[in-house]
């Protein structure tokens, strides 16, 4: 197994031009192999935080470090999975070709590349659909393709920006379970942005709560030893209420 890198967000603030400060004083350390959810009300700057980690935008102050290396732009060590799977996939490429897209630069040997692509598609249960075009897939299958395209790159961090927000409840539940299984198998860091408290508690072992913007900051860093398997688990509702309270109180101030 490769050695994944640790992510350190050091005292980051972000404002666009002369606009208000969106994020202020974000200071977190995410160690390799953790599954972290970033939770917050809409407009709290969750997506800005994701864009910062991905390298699409640069912090106004502070640094984002991958082990001791500064993040300067987007790259395949921090692959982003977008919510808008329809636009994120390339419609002129088949499922397999989409997954192969970024891999072309890494694995030169065609057969080896193909094998890796097929393996990964097996992990996301798309083996029967490899030659279909995105337009022929359901939303859940499109999002599986996008996840496969991300994990095939073997990134240090899989950065997921509300990936299941546009899916129906049942598909969503399935994909959450599958994602956890993939994570348990591969073990790299997943940063998962969501506004769904239940989802956060069910899939991750650490929940970061952002206060409402402007000047959003981390108001809660909730770590759990074990994930909740099910909402009926003991302690789930207590945890749920605790996070809900911290979001509520951040709204008032």
């Amino acid at each position: 197994m490769a050695e994944w890198k640790n992510l350190v967000i050091k005292d980051v603030t972000k404002r666009f031009d002369s606009g208000p400060c969106i994020l202020s004083g974000i200071d977190i350390r995410i160690s390799r192999g953790s599954f972290v959810c970033v939770l917050g009300p809409s407009g709290s700057g969750k997506s800005t935080l994701a864009d910062l980690i991905a390298g699409f935008v640069k912090p106004s102050t502070g640094d984002i470090l991958l082990d001791h290396e500064k993040v300067t732009g987007p790259g395949p060590d921090r692959v982003v999975i977008f919510q808008d799977f329809s636009n994120a996939l390339f419609p002129w490429l088949t499922v397999a070709e989409n997954v192969e897209f970024g891999l072309k630069k890494i694995i030169g040997d065609k057969a080896a590349r193909r094998r890796k692509v097929l393996d990964t598609l097996g992990m996301v249960k798309l083996s029967d659909h490899i030659d279909k075009f995105p337009s022929e897939l359901s939303g859940g299958m499109k999002q599986r393709t996008q996840i496969a395209r991300g994990i095939v790159m073997n990134p240090d961090i899989l950065l997921m920006d509300e990936p299941f927000g546009a899916l129906d409840a049942i598909t969503r539940r399935h994909l959450q379970d599958e994602l956890v299984k993939i994570w348990e198998e591969l073990g790299q860091t997943i940063i998962f942005i969501t506004h769904d408290i239940g989802e956060a508690l069910l899939i991750s072992n650490r929940v970061l709560v952002l206060s409402s913007g402007p000047n959003a900051e981390i108001v809660e860093d909730f770590k759990q030893e074990h994930r909740f398997e099910d909402p009926s688990d003991k302690g789930f509702s207590a945890a749920y209420r605790r996070i809900e309270n911290s979001i509520e109180s951040s709204l008032k101030t």
Binding site: P76, V80, F82, N87, A88, F101, S135, R149
Partner: protein, 260 residues
């Protein structure tokens, strides 16, 4: 609808359309009763058949199509290239935009006297007109296509490690390709129009010539044959282009993009 049902439906709707047209025409020609001005469908059909047998009709169609193809073969790549460059690089766009606006506001037909003046009554002057029309048309849709490449697509490719140059080749061009194809489709329509106009003003063959010659000989049947032939040709070119895009290269069909 299933595929065979769709075909039947198309054939039926086509047949009904033709029937409606022919019936209205027959009634009109009977009512006016001046065959010199409006011959009956059967008369026109007979002359069309004899022109077909003598090979005359095919020669005219062939010359028009040849001009169209030559003009497009040069116009499409040039238009696509400049259009993509204008869409991708703001500087290129700023430099060329005034000319594109200007060209776009003048109907290509108004430039026919110009091409006659510069290139004379020649094959080259017709090619030049088609080239101009088609390249402008493809340029506009390629530029619009580049501008509509979704930001998420670009971000996704960046996140997968693509640099600026690779992005252009592996994301922008494929993403724009359907727009270019739809520009080509519009270009075919406009090209047909321009070629006919050019043939009317100065040529010795082609469908436009056929119509004009019919007028000077007061042969309305030949004019009608030219007009209908032109309509059918343009419909045929349009339909076969769409068919090829959807069946031979489905990857680049706009249909793949919609609802996706």
């Amino acid at each position: 609808m299933t595929a065979p049902k769709k075909i039947i439906y198309r054939v039926v709707s086509g047949a009904i359309s033709v029937a409606v047209f022919v019936v209205i025409w027959s009634i009109a020609s009977t009512l006016f009763n001046t065959p010199i001005l409006l011959p009956s469908p059967t008369d026109v059909f007979h002359s069309a058949m004899s022109m077909l047998y003598e090979g005359e009709l095919l020669i005219h169609i062939g010359s028009s199509v040849k001009r169209l193809i030559v003009g497009m073969a040069v116009g499409v790549p040039v238009g696509a290239l400049i259009g993509c460059a204008m869409g991708w690089f703001p500087t290129v766009n700023a430099l060329l935009d005034p000319y594109v606006r200007m060209a776009n506001s003048i109907p290509a037909i108004a430039l026919i006297p110009f091409s006659l003046l510069w290139f004379g009554v020649s094959e080259f002057s017709r090619y030049a007109l088609i080239f101009y029309t088609v390249s402008l048309c493809v340029l506009l849709s390629a530029r619009a296509g580049v501008r509509s490449v979704s930001e998420i697509q670009i971000k996704a490719a960046q996140s997968l490690g693509l640099g600026e140059k690779e992005m252009f080749v592996r994301v922008v061009i494929p993403a724009v390709f359907p727009s270019i194809l739809s520009g080509v489709r519009t270009g075919i329509g406009l090209g047909v129009m321009v070629i006919v106009a050019a043939e009317m003003v100065g040529a010795s063959d082609g469908l436009g010539y056929l119509i004009m010659e019919g007028r000077s000989h007061f042969a309305v049947d030949r004019m009608i044959i030219g007009i209908l032939g032109l309509g059918l040709l343009s419909l045929f070119l349009d339909r076969s282009f769409t068919y090829i895009v959807e069946h031979v290269m489905p990857r680049w069909s706009t249909k793949r993009r919609v609802g996706n």
